[in-house]
């Protein structure tokens, strides 16, 4: 479905929903960062790489959602 098919109030609803997803993913990343720092300071390096990869996955999801938001305007 292209963005031109959405009315302006519909776009606002969609971007609000996407924003809630993005904020949830960012909070998950914040938790990952604090847990990783705690593990690093405790000399536990087993979770560092998996956590970094999980954070990258969150970023890719966020970029995809942002791209979709900008696609609504085209």
């Amino acid at each position: 479905m292209t963005g031109a098919r959405f009315a302006r109030h519909q776009r606002k609803t969609i971007v609000s929903g996407i924003l809630s997803f993005v904020v949830t993913l960012v909070i998950l990343q914040l938790w990952l960062l604090t847990a990783t720092m705690n593990a690093y300071l405790g000399a536990d390096d087993s979770i560092l790489l998996p956590a970094a990869l999980a954070s990258v996955v969150c970023l890719l999801l966020n970029l995809g959602l942002l791209r979709y938001v900008y696609g609504l305007e085209s």
Partner: protein, 182 residues
């Protein structure tokens, strides 16, 4: 077209269509519905930038860990003669570098143990209490097991850093630092 869709017909001041407007005018709309949409979109973009910053932070920790593991082996350093420390006695020394205090405790005739002296809570110096088998942190009443360095009570959650020792010809040498997991 309902009332809300009729808001889409806002006419810019110069009378041209929205698509023909300069970029700055599109980013600073003159009507509320469009402004609310733009605000949410830009906040989403800001959140994605924050997400990128968190990824940078995660990989910075990975890089720091890589550097830490590649560091050269620590020097072997003589701390004291075994006979200079009585059974149940202790000695404070710096290892691996100056201003990094550690505490050595002689457990019996042939066994010694050493830990970094910084409490894993807020870095206060821990004090050995050999009679109760503990290392005590006086700042917040934390205590660690004397033989393992693991936290027993109080706020500390991580064990003390252990200094590895060797005894050769009745001399005590520090040979390395062992960071340990919870």
């Amino acid at each position: 077209m309902d009332d809300r869709d009729s808001q889409a017909t806002t006419i810019p001041p110069d009378g041209r269509s929205t698509a023909e407007q300069p970029r700055w005018r599109q980013d600073f709309p003159i009507d509320w519905p469009e402004d609310e949409y733009i605000a949410r979109r830009d906040f989403t973009k800001f959140m994605v930038l924050t997400s990128f910053a968190f990824v940078v932070g995660q990989w910075w920790i990975v890089a720091e860990n890589f550097i830490r593991r590649r560091k050269a082996r620590l020097p072997v350093r003589e701390i004291a003669r075994l006979d200079d420390i009585p059974v149940g006695g202790s000695l404070v020394f710096d290892y691996p570098e100056a201003h990094q205090p550690a505490v050595l405790v002689r457990l019996d005739e042939s066994r010694c143990i050493a830990y970094g002296q910084k409490c894993t809570h807020l870095s206060c110096p821990v004090i050995p209490r050999v009679d109760s088998g503990r290392l005590r942190c006086p700042c917040h009443e934390g205590s660690f097991d004397l033989t393992t360095g693991r936290p027993l009570s109080g706020p500390p959650r991580r064990p003390l850093t252990r200094i590895t020792l060797e005894i050769r010809e009745r001399r005590i040498y520090a040979t390395g630092v062992e960071e340990r997991q919870v």
